[in-house]
Symmetry: C2
Subunit: 208 residues, 2 copies
């Protein structure tokens, strides 16, 4: 699949996991794609914890469900009604979670390119996630990025040592289909804005 096709077809998958488990060879290709990402100072500050134990997945799904409720409770009526039918994770159905982490200490004290902008290491981790996600799209595998969790909880679940921080929990698995329209548009949560409103010439223009 071409880069442009993958960019267009990529979806944040919740309800479309088929229930089949991803095979190890495909999983390895996705992880290799992630690991090929560029990183600040070539520090490769990421790790990937592959979670497939059904009990652990169920336990995490319960935590996420609680966080979903907490968010719902903060919403005004109209937003709460719109949010209600939106599925926010496929943790159990996907069968596989990948906890992606960040190690700020990897690469020692002199990280080329990080001395002015401290978050660049974290940004490298996101580039790895993006690679994995687009590679998955090309292979017909769905990825759903779940962020309804408390960091400390996920760190404990994945056995992360001190200094290693969870950045994302990705549900990964075969899908029945990929939606053509993003869920949050289909369900009326929020539509996109035109490209022209995001592009500015020479300096930021508040009217662009």
């Amino acid at each position: 699949m071409s880069v442009f096709e993958a960019i267009g077809r990529r979806r944040d998958v919740r309800a479309e996991f088929s229930g089949a488990l991803i095979d190890d060879a495909t999983l390895e290709r996705l992880l290799a794609a992630a690991h090929s990402a560029p990183s600040v100072g070539n520090s490769q500050p990421w790790d990937f914890i592959v979670v497939q134990d059904p009990n652990r997945l169920r336990e995490f799904a319960i935590h996420v469900s609680g966080q979903r409720q907490k968010f719902a409770d903060t919403l005004p009526d109209e937003r709460a009604r719109t949010f209600d039918p939106i599925k926010i994770d496929g943790i159990v159905e996907s069968g596989t979670g990948i906890v992606v982490t960040y190690n700020h200490g990897r690469g020692g004290p002199h990280i080329l390119g990080r001395h002015t902008i401290g978050e660049t290491g974290l940004y490298s981790v996101i580039l790895a996630i993006s690679n994995l996600w687009l590679a998955a799209t090309a292979l017909g595998v769905g990825v759903g990025w779940v962020s309804f969790y408390e960091e400390d909880y996920l760190a404990e679940l994945a056995g992360l040592p001190e200094g290693i921080r969870p950045v994302a929990y990705l549900c990964v698995g075969p899908v029945k289909q990929l939606q053509t329209t993003p869920d949050l548009e289909r369900f009326g949560w929020r539509t996109g804005r035109p490209l022209s409103s995001a592009v500015h010439r020479e300096r930021f223009s508040s009217t662009a």
Copy 2:
């Protein structure tokens, strides 16, 4: 170009810009690819400021050069010698800079998926950058992510209003070639680690 090929060929470009200016149609395709990225709560918190004024590029290059020197001054001897020949930007030669920014306020107070992890908006911006970078690779255009700058300086240069934060400065332009080996490996700064050391099963393993 396929997703996997683009992932493998992508380089962080410094010295390989040809000196030609990217044409507007290609630039538009890259920005459209960036704008197609998924974002937390579909908030699309990014903006893109395209900088092509030669005076502004020169001014920024001088600032970056100063930051390069500051970093060099912190290095022990062996690292300083290794760093010395490494070119860290192609700001002037690329002819085009794209300042990518983050607006935490876009989308209002109820961002679906951001209530537990505050940085997820910032992560969305990096997904947009990744799309742009891979799309550029597919079109034979080089991208070099420069982070040797002070945020306040770049915000001023790009005329960013209060509340809009610069996340990256990308040099974008046609290239003579893409290197097959990343610069930091070629120059002996830091080599990568094997994938196996980054992958863990069920829980983080310090021996993995």
